[in-house]
């Protein structure tokens, strides 16, 4: 089981966390277009390489954070980028 580098707890089993998804910035809801908004809702980059991801440390510190993972080789870039950045909206 992959160890996820939680910036607060330290390395933890994947099963202790939840992958929230690709970090995607949330369009301004009062000014957005259907095109833009639905890209934000549905479209993925889904590369086989490095991706910025938001993780939730469900069983540990309860914190959301952003890190980079290589989705092809399934390993993390250390160290993690720290707490979740504000651009990453819930999906």
């Amino acid at each position: 089981m992959l160890l996820v580098p939680c910036p607060h707890c330290g390395p933890r089993n994947t099963a202790d966390l939840t992958l929230v998804g690709e970090s995607e910035s949330r369009p301004d809801p009062s000014a957005t277009t259907p095109q833009e908004w639905r890209s934000y809702l549905y479209l993925e980059h889904n590369p086989a390489g490095w991706t910025r991801e938001t993780w939730y440390c469900r069983l540990g510190c309860g914190r959301f954070f952003v890190t980079e993972r290589h989705r092809g080789q399934n390993r993390f870039r250390h160290p993690p980028l720290g707490p979740a950045d504000e651009s990453a909206g819930p999906r």
């Binding site: 607060h8 707890c9 089993n13 099963a15 202790d16 440390c57 469900r58 069983l59 540990g60 510190c61 309860g62 914190r63």
Partner: protein
């Protein structure tokens, strides 16, 4: 906590189970206060409480301060102590009734835990005073190493409603 009224714990029967080299006790009555960091964090709360995330420290009269999450502390006010907690933090919430708390003690306590929890409880990785969030028998718990008189001892805290299931699961694990 009102002493006139009878406090109903999470368990039905005996609040205690014992096995070879371990014992499990219900300490859910223990008053528990959740304290949050100030809204503009300046580390004052941590300085005052003496510990940060991942650690615990015994205060006076049976008070145990546990850093359960970054910027969040759970204050356990020992059963006897009428200790009034330090008035710190932005927000304080009484979780006495919402959280079940069991104490797993004894030389074999570590082995019992090893069959229901994936946390490395070696001396180096989980020393006395250590605090972490972990799954115990698939229940989200806070685990505190709180040795008593030099004897290996763990506090296992979970949401109250899972308490009875959790107690039974840990007891069964010990019964193997």
């Amino acid at each position: 906590m009102d002493e006139q009224l009878e406090f109903a714990g999470p368990l039905a029967g005996a609040g205690e189970a014992n096995g070879e080299g371990w014992s499990l006790r219900d300490e859910s009555r223990t008053p528990k206060l959740l304290v949050y960091e100030d809204f503009e964090p300046d580390g004052a709360v941590e300085r005052q409480l003496g510990v940060g995330f991942g650690a615990s420290a015994a205060g006076g009269s049976g008070l145990l301060v546990c850093g359960i999450r970054p910027g969040e502390w759970l204050l356990l006010l020992g059963e006897r102590s009428g200790a009034n907690p330090p008035a710190v933090g932005a927000v304080t919430v009484d979780l006495t009734h919402g959280v079940a708390m069991f104490r797993l003690s004894g030389p074999r306590a570590r082995d019992v835990l090893a069959s229901v929890c994936s946390i490395d409880t070696s001396e180096e990785m989980f020393p006395d005073g250590a605090v972490c969030g972990a799954s115990v028998a698939r229940v989200a718990c806070t685990l505190v190493r709180d040795d008593v008189a030099g004897e290996r001892s763990y506090l296992i805290l979970s949401q109250r409603s899972s308490g009875r299931y959790l107690f039974d699961a840990v007891r069964d694990a010990g019964a193997r």
